[in-house]
């Protein structure tokens, strides 16, 4: 027997596993409706690829993987798609999530499928692709897509494959009974994994010593395969990934590191069975072993349950007594959560439905003040300081929480279990983690908003600068025109008859003239009476000159051509009026 290491902390809650292993794994009648949530795993939810009213066969893909970290979903039985909508799912929030509902036809007709038996001769890449296409995600707890876990795109080769058969949480016996009945197939699955991972040096099945039947069942199958079954003393929580790795190898995974970084892969034993079914039999993951237990159900046993089976279906077939216990917990008593309703479906990670009676798991007593006894610190399997974390979580001191490695907490509940004051410690950590995550997201958002605001300000300033530049340019142009005009009028005063003559017939027609006139007017208003008089005299002189020329032109036009006659006579009239105006102004001024 190989050496094992002992993790710090841990607790020994009553196991309560014997009730559900008295009978072999059972089969339930196919439920009328199957509800398949699109997100049963870590990563992007699957995208539906069927329509309402479409007939589907057992094993048919009904939703495709979205991107790399995602898995497809398959129809667990044949029938008709009856809804694609938001439904309550197994989530502590009790919120709705997108689901596909299948109304089953009872025929349970398989889609055509085929496995391969000589997986040794198939490239690991192809095998991983098959695992991905079968919709397999980790069945132990978190539901991480297995194909991603097995992907060889990592820096270091895998030299240790750890199969997690710990099942340390009380009440749950899904893995235990699966090993008892399916040891051969499980070992076959481990061999496939070994082939995918290029035959790691060490292959270990980690199992607690409270499952002697399972250990016995595995023994004949692992003989001569190089797979070692490592048995270690029962303690909760030994089944956490990092805990199991430490127990089996003595290596502590650093915070924030994955087992693959240390050349290890840790996979749940239920997942190895699913991988065997996917490769050898070509069947996608559409069912799993789920324990139905607790004193409030009449029959306590394991079932090979179709994914999507409503919890109420499981309960009604097991004489659930609602009077005995009102609560239904998904998962075990330590890490599970109370279901918001019994309509939620079984998903790929559901290993247990626990319906405890009130006497079995009484309601929590009200929490009392922390007495700083330190029992939580002794129980913590990650060697954290739960009571420090508790204080900081209450005070919402996020920096301190992170400094005390809150994110290494595996939320196993050992601290809450031993707390003599009944403080729901894990809830504080979960809440604090959520708040820190939210604060991080908000930080990213606010940084983004700041960037956009700065850019907005910069853009407005830029526009303002451009406007100002234009304004300056315009002002300069006007001053230039003014200067030009002044120069022109200075010249014009000396030889007014010469310059006035060519344009005399059409007075003040061009834009320059308008500006000049306006400026002249402005200047006339401001200039001294002497200047004004001189100017008016100049104007009169030039106007007289222009009138003379215009009259000459008019006479010419009358003689030769009648077309321009009207225009020219109007111009003459205009010029004459101007002359009159100027003369009257001059008279006014002299008075």
């Amino acid at each position: 027997m190989s050496r094992t290491w002992v993790t710090p902390g841990g607790v020994h809650p009553p196991e309560n596993k014997h009730q559900s292993v008295t009978q072999p794994i059972g089969q339930l009648p196919i439920p009328e409706k199957l509800i398949i949530p699109l997100s049963q795993h870590i990563g992007a939810p699957a995208t539906p690829c069927v329509e309402i009213g479409q007939q589907v066969l057992k094993g048919q893909v009904i939703a495709e993987a979205t991107g790399m970290v995602s898995i497809p979903m398959h129809a667990p039985s044949s029938g008709t798609i009856s809804a694609i909508e938001h439904r309550p799912i197994a989530h502590a929030s009790g919120m709705l999530a997108p689901c596909i509902e299948i109304t089953t036809d009872g025929a349970d007709t398989w889609i055509e499928h085929q496995g391969i038996s000589d997986y040794e001769h198939i490239s690991p890449r192809k095998l991983i692709e098959m695992v991905g296409n079968a919709g397999i995600s980790g069945m132990g707890g978190a539901g991480f897509p297995s194909a991603v876990k097995l992907n060889p795109g990592r820096q270091r080769p895998i030299d240790t494959l750890i199969v997690n058969a710990t099942e340390c949480e009380p009440y749950i016996t899904a893995d235990d009974s699966a090993i008892r009945e399916r040891a051969g197939e499980i070992v076959e699955g481990i061999k496939i994994l070994s082939a995918i991972l290029d035959h790691p040096h060490h292959i270990m099945i980690g199992i607690e010593d409270n499952k002697p039947e399972a250990i016995e069942a595995l023994a004949p199958h692992v003989e001569g395969t190089g797979i070692s079954v490592v048995v270690f003393p029962t303690k909760y929580p030994s089944g956490g990934e990092k805990q199991l790795i430490y127990i089996l190898t003595g290596k502590e995974l650093p915070a924030g590191k994955l087992p693959a970084d240390e050349g290890m892969v840790c996979i749940n034993i239920g997942t190895t069975y699913a991988i065997k079914r996917a490769i050898i039999d070509g069947e996608p993951l559409i069912s799993r072993v789920t324990t139905v237990t607790g004193d409030a159900v009449g029959i306590q046993r394991n079932y090979d349950t179709l994914i999507g089976t409503p919890v109420s279906h499981l309960l009604s077939h097991n004489q659930f007594d609602e009077q005995a216990g009102g609560r239904v917990v998904m998962g075990g008593p330590m890490m599970g959560f109370t279901l918001p309703s019994a309509d939620v479906p079984i998903v790929k990670t559901t290993n247990c439905i626990l319906a405890p009676s009130y006497s079995e798991i009484p309601d929590d007593e009200p929490a009392q003040p922390c007495i700083r006894c330190g029992m939580c610190a002794e129980a913590c399997p990650v060697s954290l300081l739960p009571q420090q974390l508790f204080w900081y979580a209450q005070a919402q001191e996020h920096d301190r929480l992170e400094a005390h490695n809150l994110f290494d907490c595996i939320e196993c509940g050992a601290c809450s279990y031993v707390c003599p004051s009944n403080i729901p410690l894990v809830q504080y950590y979960r809440a604090a983690k959520g708040e820190i995550r939210q604060a991080r997201e908000e930080k990213v958002k606010s940084d983004h908003a700041r960037e956009r605001f700065e850019f907005h300000k910069e853009r407005i300033e830029q526009a303002e600068r451009e406007k100002e530049a234009k304004r300056v340019a315009r002002r300069e142009a006007t001053q230039q025109a003014k200067a030009d005009h002044l120069a022109a009028t200075a010249n014009g005063a000396t030889n007014a008859p010469a310059t006035a003559a060519p344009s005399g017939a059409v007075p003040s027609s061009s834009a320059a003239d308008i500006i000049a006139a306006a400026q002249a007017r402005a200047a006339a208003k401001q200039a001294s009476p002497e200047d004004q008089r001189a100017k008016l005299e100049r104007t009169i002189a030039s106007a007289e000159q222009r009138l003379k020329v215009a009259e000459e032109k008019l006479a010419e036009a009358i003689n030769s051509d009648t077309g321009k006659q009207d225009k020219l006579s109007a111009a003459v009239e205009n010029t004459r009026q101007k002359l009159e105006q100027s003369k009257s102004k001059l008279a006014e001024l002299t008075e």
Partner: protein, 209 residues
């Protein structure tokens, strides 16, 4: 040399001190030039803590001007979008006691909101586009406008200028992805009258999980 010093101890001390002060003065001057800090780092740090909604509820045109004002001694409780959490963070940074939020500048809202333009009513006046501090509204003159919800900070500034009142501030719905556990009721409320109204049946059920 030593004799000279021994004979004129006062002079020697004076020379030594003046020499030292010149040397260190030069060193300090050099360091001040060499390691010069551009801008006011405390303003940066305060600005980091502000929520960047750029809403102007504090009376300043944006978060940074308010950060500058705080650095110059303004009170730190003028930011309703940031709420008590921001006040606490700034108080922590500046090492001052954290006051309550000043109600004069608005109230802290529990839910995040984003602007939504009822597009069929929009007349395309571009007034909201000019008002938006983060360029989160898309549109052109006489064309319908719309809000880029992901960029909207929920600052409210576009609501006021709209001549047809077609902008609503909608609360952002919580999804499963951003749902989080809530902090349980404080322990130690063993006396029934103390905990009146504090322990809800829902909280009790969650405890059971």
């Amino acid at each position: 040399m030593i004799e000279l010093i021994a004979q004129n101890p006062i002079l020697a001390a004076l020379v030594a001190l003046v020499g030292l002060s010149i040397v260190f003065g030069g060193l300090l001057g050099f360091a001040a030039e060499k390691f010069k800090v551009e801008g006011d780092p405390i303003v940066e740090q305060i600005d980091e803590l502000l929520p960047q909604t750029q809403c102007g509820q504090c009376g300043f045109p944006g978060c940074r001007p308010y950060a500058e004002s705080i650095a110059n001694g303004d009170v730190i409780n003028k930011c309703p979008p940031g709420g008590q959490a921001t006040i606490n963070a700034i108080a922590n940074l500046l090492d001052v006691p954290a006051p309550e939020l000043d109600a004069e500048h608005g109230e802290e809202s529990e839910v995040r909101t984003v602007a939504f333009i009822r597009e069929e009513e929009c007349i395309g006046c571009t007034k909201c586009i000019q008002a938006c501090p983060v360029d989160a509204i898309l549109g052109a003159a006489k064309l319908m406008h719309t809000v880029i919800a992901d960029e909207c900070t929920g600052c409210d500034l576009c609501v006021e200028p709209c001549p047809v009142d077609c902008i609503d501030m909608l609360p952002v719905a919580e999804t499963i992805a951003d749902w989080k556990w809530s902090i349980p009721a404080k322990p130690g409320q063993m006396i029934a009258t103390d905990r009146r109204g504090e322990v809800s049946p829902a909280a009790h059920n969650e405890d059971a999980a």
